[in-house]
């Protein structure tokens, strides 16, 4: 050690040693800053800067070494071998280059250590090549033990320096550069001390030796180059720092703009949070820095979160405020390296909206009761639990009597209030576990949850009818409605939710037809009747499509001459299985279902087409139902049928009952007037029954009155009937109308009618309704007679 100390203090020029140290520091700084810039750059410029950095490192090592040699004062003439000197520079650059290339991305410590040893070896090579290039006028001897100690020591230090440089911990990383410098120092001064130079006048410097005076400017040049590079590196570093600051500022501004809360974390520690997150937790700016993430998001293992996958969590503020959030974790390259960034999205609004949507979807907006969908859910749920507990329950369906009237006369606003008040009263009628829902319109349903005995259904229905039957006071007006209730009991009347509701509906239908304000329980007979009706309806639809109908004709004869003057067209249904079906069985259903429209049209067209081929003095009479009158195109339909058949309008009679006139009189009268204007005759059918208001006769000039057969049946024995028939005939004649007496079955009835002055007679006495060909034969026979 002493010799090393002497070597340092006496054998060297101190100023040059300082210069060597300075060159080393400047060179190392330059190389490192340029290398850092290379790491920040991309593509070609990265390669160039990396190359510059490697060359600079080599030059630094070499220049330091050379200045060290120049500082050496051996006390005898000395010079440099130019080739070896140049070689030492190349070895240094190559050695450092290879080591650095190998070191990039190297994670394993052993590898890094070996690379460090390789780097040390190249520096050692530089050193000893450099010493070999140092020529003196004397002999050179080496101290082997010192070499044996100093070289491995320095190689070891190189290895350790490389290991710590690659460590994650910053304080360890910082130890890298000083260790490297120390390793170089050990290598250099160890080597110098181990070398002993003895002056030998016999030996002179070889001729190619370059004197220090020549080498010094070269070294100085290289050193100045390194200084320049260091200045460049400094500028690059400053620029990079400014850029980083600007980037960070921009990032912060951007983060503050974000709606989501953002937190940059170092493990569990928040280093930065944006304004949104601060607002979310209602804290002052900067207050979150340094807070623990696990305090804010308890129950969420942030480190274990998969990246880019949202998780539900609860954010807890300092004041205990709990906010439902979604958290997204991602690693983001920020500044020097990857950092954990948590995006935290407030879910309160979404959850509120969702719950509002749920409420809207499952409840009736007007009354706040569960809606139809929700009721079916509840019922299905109850049915499922019934299967476990085996307890009977009931479904009640009710609607308001006269609700449509209230709505139409008092307005929908009042109707809505009425529905709300109804909902309140229904709730008051229910038992603790019962549920009431609004199915739509004025229709409500109740799930009566638990039935100790079937009578309690009746009790509840009674309560409902009582409460809804009470007057309603709405905006100063008294409104009286009522409720009809139908019920189906599970499991007796069904166990499927839809079946229960349907059966309760059937019972309600029965309650309504039996007189309003009543309660009916489902009865299987109801179901059978409905099924029969439904199958008949399906049959009827098919029959219309398949044209299973026929038109029969019943002749009308002149009361005086007995000649056929007209025939009434009557529809018959020839059912493929049931045979001939009576009109009484299917016409009401056809009217109810609207099928009377197409059926009536078919009869009209068929009758016109067939009548067109009859003798021209025989007219045809077709019945029109009230349902057909609801169709505004009726007059056009009739005209089209006439045009298609070629029948003249004066040969068509349309028979209507007073039911046609009851509904919407104005419109009906307008249609009748249009038909009459087209030349068609209009008859009043079944006169004498119903209201038989005489004002009809005054308001519309009918061409014909048909006296209802109920009067004729009693003729001529019954004096009242006889008087009525005679009165109708007299009245009609005075009004200028033709009078037909229907249902004449006996010769006495015929004689009475004719004597009373009636114009036409129709009935079994003349003929029953006949199929077309039979009717034609009948006409032929009569005409011939």
């Amino acid at each position: 050690m002493r010799s090393v100390y002497i070597c340092l203090t006496q054998a060297h020029d101190h100023q040059l040693i300082l210069l060597a140290a300075g060159t080393c520091v400047v060179g190392v700084y330059g190389s490192f800053s340029v290398a850092t810039h290379a790491a920040r750059s991309e593509g070609r410029s990265a390669t160039l800067w990396a190359g510059a950095s490697i060359v600079a490192s080599g030059c630094t090592a070499w220049a330091t070494h050379m200045i060290g040699l120049l500082a050496f004062r051996p006390g005898m003439p000395a010079g440099f071998d130019p080739y070896l000197t140049a070689l030492s520079l190349l070895v240094a650059i190559a050695g450092i280059g290879i080591s650095v290339a190998l070191a990039i991305g190297q994670r394993k410590r052993v590898h890094r250590f070996l690379i460090g040893v390789l780097l040390g070896s190249s520096i050692a090579a530089l050193h000893y090549l450099g010493e070999a290039s140092y020529l003196v006028a004397g002999t050179v001897t080496w101290d082997p033990p010192l070499l044996a100690v100093s070289i491995p020591t320095s190689l070891l230090m190189f290895g350790v320096a490389m290991v710590v440089t690659g460590e994650r911990r910053r304080d360890l990383r910082r130890a890298g550069a000083p260790l490297l410098v120390a390793a170089i120092g050990v290598l250099h001064f160890g080597g110098m001390t181990a070398m002993t130079l003895a002056f030998d006048p016999e030996r002179s410097l070889p001729p190619h030796a370059v004197p220090p005076e020549v080498i010094a400017p070269v070294v100085a040049g290289v050193s100045l180059g390194l200084l320049a590079l260091a200045v460049v590196g400094l500028r690059l570093t400053l620029q990079a720092r400014a850029q980083a600051r600007r980037d960070q500022q921009r990032l912060r501004e951007l983060a503050n703009l974000a709606v989501e809360g953002l937190a940059v974390c170092d493990d569990d520690m928040i280093t930065t949070a944006n304004r949104s997150l601060e607002r979310l937790l209602s804290v002052n700016p900067g207050e979150l820095n340094g807070r623990r993430l696990s305090d804010l998001l308890p129950g969420l293992a942030v480190a274990a979160l998969p990246e880019r996958e949202e998780r539900e969590a609860e954010l807890v503020g300092t004041d205990g405020l709990r906010v439902p959030v979604r958290v997204l974790r991602s690693k983001v390259p920020l500044g020097s390296g990857l950092q954990t960034v948590l995006a935290i999205r407030d879910q309160r609004e979404r959850l509120q909206t969702e719950s509002k949507i749920r409420t809207l979807a499952y409840s009736d907006a007007l009354t706040g009761l569960p809606n139809r969908a929700h009721f079916h859910d509840l019922l299905a749920h109850h049915v499922a639990s019934y299967r476990e507990h085996d307890r009977a329950f009931a479904v009640l369906v009710l609607d308001l009597d006269r609700f449509k009237l209230v709505n139409d006369t008092l307005g929908h606003g009042l109707g809505d209030v009425l529905l709300c008040k109804t909902a309140q009263r229904l709730k008051a009628a229910l038992g603790e576990h019962d549920v009431v829902a609004r199915l739509g319109g004025d229709e409500f349903a109740v799930l009566q949850a638990d039935l100790p005995n079937p009578e309690v259904v009746q009790v509840l229905a009674g309560r409902i009818i009582e409460l809804i039957g009470r007057p309603f006071l709405i905006e100063g007006q008294l409104v009286n409605v009522g409720a009809s209730v139908g019920a189906a009991l599970a499991p007796v009347d069904g166990i499927e939710p839809s079946q229960l509701v349907r059966n309760a509906d059937l019972a309600l239908y029965k309650a309504k037809t039996d007189g309003k304000g009543t309660f009916r329980r489902f009865d299987p007979v109801l179901d059978a009747r409905v099924q029969a009706r439904r199958s008949l309806e399906a049959d009827l639809r098919r029959a219309i499509a398949m044209q299973e109908f026929e038109v029969y004709y019943q002749p009308l004869v002149d009361a005086r001459s007995g000649r056929i003057t007209a025939a009434e067209a009557l529809v018959r249904w020839r059912h493929p299985e049931r045979g001939l079906v009576s009109p009484a069985d299917f016409i009401p259903l056809a009217e109810e279902t609207g099928l009377i429209g197409p059926l009536g049209q078919w009869v009209l067209r068929t009758a016109c087409a067939q009548a067109a081929h009859w003798p021209s003095h025989i007219r045809v009479a077709v019945n029109l139902s009230p349902a057909q009158f609801r169709d505004l195109r009726l007059a056009d339909t009739v005209k089209a049928a006439l045009a298609a058949s070629g029948l003249t309008a004066d040969r068509l009679e349309l028979e209507i009952t007073e039911g046609v006139l009851l509904a919407d009189e104005e419109r009906t009268l307008a249609t009748l007037t249009r038909l009459r204007a087209a030349g068609v005759s209009i008859s009043m059918d079944d006169f004498g029954t119903g209201y038989s208001s005489l004002s009809y006769l005054r308001r519309f000039p009918f061409d014909k009155i048909k006296v209802d057969q109920s009067f004729v049946r009693q003729l001529p024995g019954d004096l009242e009937s006889a008087a009525i028939v005679r009165a109708i005939i007299t009245m009609g004649t005075c009004l200028g109308m033709t009078i037909t007496v229907e249902g004449v079955e006996t010769a006495e009835q015929f004689a009475f009618s004719a004597a009373s002055g009636c114009d036409q007679v129709q009935g079994y006495l003349v003929s029953r309704p006949l199929p077309l060909d039979e009717f034609l034969s009948f006409v032929e026979a009569r005409e011939a007679a």
């Binding site: 709730k427 009582e466 409460l467 006071l473 100063g476 008294l478």
Partner: protein
């Protein structure tokens, strides 16, 4: 009271059949309890009125702002302790005739037997209504200072 003070005065009188069961004391206790509730409720809503009980029927008059009367009547109609609720009179009026008590209580006295008979047994509501109004007016007017003090009426 001055008509100008109550531009929105509404009166509703109804008759209903009691479903209270038990001894006279039980019924009276139940009615007292109901009265106490209705007094508090009516005072809050700015409603005055009177209740007549004939052991079989209630006749109750409510006077106050139309909306308040409507709300109280809604509650009354949700009550299952009486049945056959029939409105006797209903409409805007100029001044109250049933006093200023939130809910005074009238019990028919010895002299009102015939009217009670009509209130209870007249099948025509209009006749029963007229009888009820007359009875209530007769009971309420002679002793205006005593309105609402239950013990004096519950003879």
């Amino acid at each position: 009271m001055n008509p100008q003070d109550t531009p929105d005065l509404f009166r509703l009188v109804y008759r209903s059949r009691s479903t209270f069961e038990g001894t006279a004391e039980d019924v009276q206790r139940a009615i007292d309890k109901t009265l106490a509730t209705s007094r508090t409720r009516n005072a809050e809503a700015g409603i005055t009125g009177t209740l007549l009980f004939t052991r079989l029927f209630f006749v109750q008059a409510l006077e106050g702002p139309a909306a308040a009367v409507e709300a109280i009547f809604d509650r009354i109609c949700c009550d299952l302790r009486h049945v056959n609720v029939e409105v006797v009179e209903c409409g805007p009026v100029l001044e109250p005739i049933f006093g200023e008590d939130p809910m005074s209580y009238l019990v028919p006295d010895a002299g009102s037997g015939a009217l009670v008979e009509r209130v209870e047994h007249d099948t025509e509501l209009a006749d029963a209504a007229a009888a009820a109004m007359k009875l209530m007016a007769a009971l309420i007017r002679p002793q205006p200072h005593a309105i609402g003090s239950v013990p004096q009426f519950a003879a």
